[in-house]
Assembly symmetry: C2
């Protein structure tokens, strides 16, 4: 049973982002959820946000008052299980199925679109949509004439190592780039986030939130490099990494706290203007993170 049936994908996404936002900012019960402000955050018109808010009211996350709008029903930090229920993993079932099939070695390296449609028992258009997303993520490509070919980017320990090696090469270099410039208010936001995490905030966090905060940290620094191609590349690498870590065990709490501490050190160095130090710390951080995670048993195949 889907966690939030009856919603359009965009409404689900809006609902997810609303919860993520209030949790990031640790809003208390009673906080006003302004339709227009939220629409700006989500990047859509206010229409789908209305649907999302209505859903949040149905599941008891928000209260509705006629002509006044929606308000948070409980403190945001108590909404962990709701955040989990709306997790992006369920977003596009077809995408999920293809990913699971592929990771489970149940799809050949190359196959025609029609063959995939038969296998999934789905219509062409949605299958194509899922394929487009996968192509965008970079682990499938069209073959010259017909059909598609999976690329070996997500389904092996090696891919995992490759991913970390790329990060180790690119991210420290980004900190040293000629156009690097931090954005003060983003700097403060990152520091606050990582600080909270280092001091036990991870206990109320879902796994997805943890991963997202991590990704945001690294992607923000990449953006500060002033090199847009580098930012895009890091985003791409991170997306792939999320797929690779899909089956990785939750990660013990000590790990989370230590990572946050390392992130804070890097931020401090950047804040002092000591980019060389920051780059060195970043490299060490990435080497250590790889060692902590890249173990063969994480690549066992299973359902869920």
């Amino acid at each position: 049973m889907p966690a939030a049936s009856g919603l359009t994908p965009l409404q689900r996404r809006a609902a997810r982002e609303i919860i993520a936002l209030v949790r990031r900012e640790d809003r208390p019960a009673g906080h006003h959820l302004s339709k227009l402000a939220l629409a700006r955050v989500v990047g859509t018109s206010h229409n789908p946000v209305e649907g999302a808010l209505a859903h949040l009211a149905r599941i008891g996350v928000a209260r509705h008052e006629k002509d006044r709008g929606y308000f948070l029903a409980r403190d945001a930090r108590l909404l962990g299980s709701d955040a989990r229920k709306l997790s992006p993993a369920d977003d596009d079932p077809l995408y999920r199925r293809i990913l699971d099939l592929r990771l489970g070695r149940r799809l050949p390296d190359t196959l025609s679109e029609t063959a995939l449609i038969r296998k999934l028992g789905a219509a062409r258009a949605p299958v194509r949509r899922a394929l487009a997303r996968i192509q965008q993520e970079g682990w499938i490509e069209r073959r010259a004439g017909n059909g598609w070919a999976f690329l070996p980017l997500i389904d092996s320990v090696e891919a995992y190592e490759d991913n970390y090696e790329m990060r180790r090469i690119v991210e420290p270099a980004g900190l040293l780039g000629p156009k690097f410039a931090l954005v003060p208010e983003e700097f403060e936001t990152l520091r606050r986030q990582q600080h909270r995490m280092a001091n036990g905030g991870y206990r109320t966090m879902t796994a997805v939130e943890w991963v997202d905060i991590n990704a945001t940290f690294h992607e923000t620094l990449a953006r500060w490099s002033g090199n847009r191609l580098m930012h895009q590349t890091i985003r791409h690498i991170n997306r792939l990494r999320k797929l690779l870590e899909r089956r990785v065990v939750a990660g013990d709490p000590g790990l989370r706290a230590r990572q946050a501490a390392e992130h804070l050190e890097i931020l401090d160095a950047i804040g002092r203007g000591d980019r060389k130090k920051a780059a060195a710390l970043m490299e060490k951080h990435l080497v250590r993170a790889r060692r902590d995670k890249a173990r063969p048993d994480h690549f066992t195949v299973g359902r869920r």
Copy 2:
């Protein structure tokens, strides 16, 4: 008037690759063009290759003998103008128009698919195909709800600088990676190619061929790194670079020869197993290449 009307895109592509192949290998008149072997090279079935060969016979590049197949009509090195006529630039007219419009600042940063369809006066399906390609190349992305947003990756001097900076960071690191291993026969092929180019071979080459040989050189080295993500990333960066260099002047012959000489130096260092030296040479090479090309006047906007 299109250079090769009546051909399907795949047939055009096959024709192009056949000519590129025989020119790369400098085949003489009379060389047999085997349908099956060519199909393997192009990556399709032999059907579209047949169409391509028929076309090559029509335009006088190949001769046909009943039940014996097709044969090269002239020495491959004399086919420069034919190679130019089949150049990939004409492949998807819609893609070209969007690119031109965007580079000419005639498309807003964000617009709906329908608006684009109206502007181009084309049907939805082909527009969507072109957009998918652009999305793949990374300079457009879907917005949350509706529409598309252009990313600033192809339309400024800065993007050009960013591109070279990324190459400078990634490519030398690739040569130093832990899994680096050259492929002997590819090594010889690269050496032969670059040697020919350094010794005046560039005179019979089209601009597109020059760019392709360059790209092949760098992408092959990236592949040798053993890091598939790195290889993919370099390929992506190169594709963007081709767009950026679209309007760059043809490049004086001396430049071509010098670049080839630098490529040969790098290959020599790799061949000796001196990867540190190779990486240093690569970095110098990229810095120099950037200096030679990144001049503002290349970003003048014009038709064709």
